[in-house]
Amino acid sequence: MKYVDEFRDGALARNIAANIAREADPRRSYHLMEFCGGHTHAISRYGIADLLPANVRMIHGPGCPVCVLPAGRVENGIQLAQMPGLILCCYGDLLRVPAANGMSLLKAKAHGADVRMVYSSADAVKIAQENPQRQVVFFAIGFETTTPPTAVAIKQAQALDLKNFSVFCNHVLTPSAISHILQSPEIRQLGVLTLDGFIGPAHVSTVIGSRPYEYFAEEFQKPVVIAGFEPLDVMQAILMLVRQLNEGRAEVENEFSRAVTRDGNIKAQLLVAEVFELRRVFEWRGLGPVPYSALRIKSQYADYDAELRFQIPAVSIPDNRACECGAILRGVKHPRDCKLFGTVCTPDNPVGSCMVSSEGACAAHYSYGRFREKAS
C-alpha cells in the first residue's frame, strides 16, 4: 500500500533499532512516555518493544479519549439515551465503556435505548435531519483531533436551523493533561515515576501544531519528539529522544514533519475558538479534576448544548477499587501490576476504561503483548 508500507518497512526498522541499541548509553535508562493511544496501539501491534534495548522503556500515557472519560459522563450519556424518543449518536469505542453497575451504552441499547454508532459528527447531523420529530444528541468525545469536526457539526446544524440536534461536549485538551502528569506528586515529590521524555501526539499536533509543547520542553526540561502513528515514525522518534537525552538537550523536535507544522491548522483552531471555550475544571478518569483541561460550548451556541437542553447533572462515579486504570493512565503502573488484568477485566468484560478501547494501555497489552508476561 503506497504511502503506508514505506512507514512499516522491516529492514529500515532493524536499521533504526541498531542505531538505538548503539547510541543508548548502557549506564543509564530511558523512560519515554508516548502520550497518545495511537502510539500505544502501534507499539503493541507491531511489536516495537521487541526491537528496543532493555534500558529503553516505553510508558503508556493517557492519550486515549475513551479511557480518560469519567464514568459519570458515560452515566450521563446512558441516562440521555434512555429518554423516550431520543437518539444518542456516538463513536464506536464509547459503546462498551462501563459506567455504574456494569451498565454501558451497548447494554442500554440492548434494553431498548436508541444508541447509534457513527463514523463522523456529520452522520449525527444527518440522522437529526432524517428524524425531525426526535431529539438527536451527539456524544462528542476526543482530543483536539475530533474537536473541529464537532464544531463543524454545530455550525452545520445552525445553518440548517435544526431544532432537534444538540451536542454533549466532552472534548479535552492534550497540553493540560501533559502538564498535569508532569506536575503530579509521583514525578515531582515522590520520585516513583521517572519520565525522561515524550513522544508527542501525531494527529492532535496536525491541529494544534508543535508550538504548545515548547513550554514543557522549557519548563520541565523534558525533550518532546512529535511522531506519526506508523511504527517507523515511533522508532525514529525514540532514536531522536535518545539522542536529545544523550546530548543533554530538551527541545521540541518534529519527526512528523510531513503533516505537522509549528503553527498547526489555523483554520481548525479558529473554528474551535469560535464554538468552544475553556471549562474551568474537568474530571479525567485516572487523573481526577484537571484545571482548564476541557472545552464547553460557547453561549452563542447554547441552543446546541445538550448539557443545557437536558439539564445534565454532574455525576461522579468512583472506579472499581481494585482497578488500577488511574495509576496506569498516569504512567505510574503497568497493566500487569493490576490484579484485575486478564482475570475479571478483559476486553470482552472490561472493568476499567483502559481495557475498552484498542488504544487503551490494558487492551493493547492484552491483545498484542501479554504473551511476554506468560513467557517470563
Binding site: M1, G10, D50, L51, Y119, P347, A363, S367, R370, F371
Partner: protein, 349 residues
C-alpha cells in the same frame, strides 16, 4: 359459451408484487409461491415428491450435518447475494470435514412487503449456486413475519454429506510442527459487504469471494488424505478461526505476517476503517493444517485448483500452554493475534 377458464390462477406478479401475510399462511397463496418460485427454481426429483420431508438414498459411512442462518445486510453485494451465500456457507461447513456434500434444505423467513422481484432474484441465485455445486435443495419451508419484524429475508440452510473412509479432519488434530495454509486472498467478503453500508459507502472493485469449496476440498483430500484440520474463516476472519483451533487442539500458533495473502485494496480499506484484515470475514476461503512433510504436496494441490490458486503457507503450529496465536510482524516484532473482541462488523453473512 362462457370464456371463463376454470382452474385459472392469476400468476404471481414478479414485477410489482410483494410478499404479504397470506404467503406464509399455509393456504393457496403459499402453495402458489412454492409452485411458481421455489419448485420452479430448485426443481429436482426429491422436491417433486411434494411431501413435508424429502426421502433420499443414504450412502454408507459417516454422515456429517451442518446448519447456518444467513442475515446479511445488504442482501445484494458485489460478487453475490444472500441466496448464493446461504448455499455456499452450508456446503462449506459440511465440506470442512472432508465430506462430499449431498443434500441441502432451505428455510425462509420473509418480511411482509418484501418485493417478489428481489425474492425471485435471491431464489434463482440459490438455485444456480446449488446447481453449480451439484448439491440439490431437497426440502424447505417458508414463513412470513409482519413488516418491521424481519429485515427483508433471512435464510437458514442445512446440509448433509458423507465423509470418505480414512479421512479424519477435526479441529483438535493440530500438532506442534504442523504447517498452516490458507487457500487465497483474505478479507474480500467483509470489505465488499462493508462498502455498501449506508453510513459508510465507499467505492471499491473488491468482490465478495463467496464460493462453494467442496471441489477444492476433494482435490486436497485426494492429495493429502491425512489433513489434520480444515476450517473456513468466515465471521471473525482468520484470526478467530485459528484461535478456535488453537484452543481445541491445546496448541499455540505462529504466523508470518508477510506470508499472509491480502489484496492491496482490502489492506487500504481496512487501513482507513481502522480494521485488521485478519478479523475480516471470508466466504470462499479455507485454512488448512497438516503435517510438515505433507505441506508442499497440499499447497501444490490447492494451487492447481481455481479456488486455491493463491494459496500460501502462512505459519506453523507450536507448543504453547497458553494457546496463543502469535504473529511475527513484517516490521520485525512479535504480537498476539487475539480473539475478536466485541463485534467488528455486524450482519455480514
Amino acid at each position: 359459451m362462457s370464456t371463463v377458464k376454470h382452474n385459472y390462477t392469476r400468476p404471481l406478479d414478479f414485477k410489482q408484487g410483494r410478499v404479504d401475510m397470506t404467503h406464509g399462511s399455509g393456504g393457496r397463496a403459499m402453495a402458489q409461491l412454492i409452485d411458481e418460485l421455489f419448485l420452479a427454481a430448485f426443481d429436482n426429483e426429491f422436491l417433486r415428491q411434494m411431501n413435508d420431508q424429502a426421502r433420499f438414498p443414504a450412502p454408507s459411512g459417516r454422515m456429517v450435518m451442518s446448519t447456518d442462518s444467513h442475515v446479511v445486510s445488504p442482501l445484494f453485494f458485489p460478487g453475490g447475494d444472500i441466496g448464493c451465500l446461504s448455499v455456499h456457507g452450508t456446503i462449506n461447513d459440511v465440506a470442512m470435514s472432508g465430506a462430499k456434500p449431498l443434500y441441502l434444505s432451505a428455510s425462509f423467513i420473509l418480511e411482509e412487503g418484501f418485493p417478489l422481484a428481489d425474492l425471485r432474484r435471491i431464489v434463482e441465485s440459490m438455485a444456480q449456486a446449488a446447481r453449480d455445486a451439484g448439491v440439490p435443495i431437497v426440502t424447505g419451508d417458508t414463513k412470513v413475519v409482519e413488516q418491521g419484524k424481519g429485515d427483508g429475508v433471512f435464510i437458514t440452510t442445512t446440509g448433509i454429506g458423507v465423509v470418505p473412509n480414512g479421512v479424519n479432519i477435526s479441529g483438535e488434530r493440530a500438532r506442534p510442527g504442523d504447517k498452516i495454509l490458507v487457500s487465497g486472498m483474505l478479507g474480500d467478503h467483509g470489505v465488499a459487504v462493508m462498502s455498501l453500508r449506508e453510513n459508510l459507502t465507499f467505492h471499491t472493485s473488491i468482490q465478495s469471494d463467496t464460493a462453494a469449496l467442496h471441489g477444492l476440498v476433494a482435490a486436497m483430500v485426494a492429495a493429502v488424505p491425512d489433513i489434520h484440520v480444515l476450517r473456513d474463516p468466515t465471521r471473525g476472519g482468520l484470526a478467530t478461526t485459528l484461535n478456535e483451533i488453537a484452543r481445541q487442539s491445546a496448541v499455540g500458533m505462529m504466523l508470518y505476517e508477510n506470508k499472509i495473502p491480502i489484496r492491496e485494496q482490502v489492506k487500504a480499506a481496512c487501513e482507513f476503517l481502522g480494521l485488521d484484515p485478519l478479523y475480516v470475514a471470508n466466504e470462499g476461503k479455507l485454512a488448512a493444517i497438516c503435517a510438515p512433510e505433507d505441506a508442499d504436496r497440499l499447497l501444490q494441490a490447492m494451487r492447481a485448483h481455481p479456488l486455491g490458486s493463491e494459496a500460501a503457507i502462512v505459519g506453523e503450529v507450536i507448543e504453547d500452554q497458553h494457546h496463543f496465536v502469535q504473529m511475527e510482524t513484517a516490521f520485525g516484532g512479535r504480537r498476539v493475534v487475539d480473539w475478536l473482541t466485541g463485534e467488528q462488523l455486524p450482519r455480514i453473512c
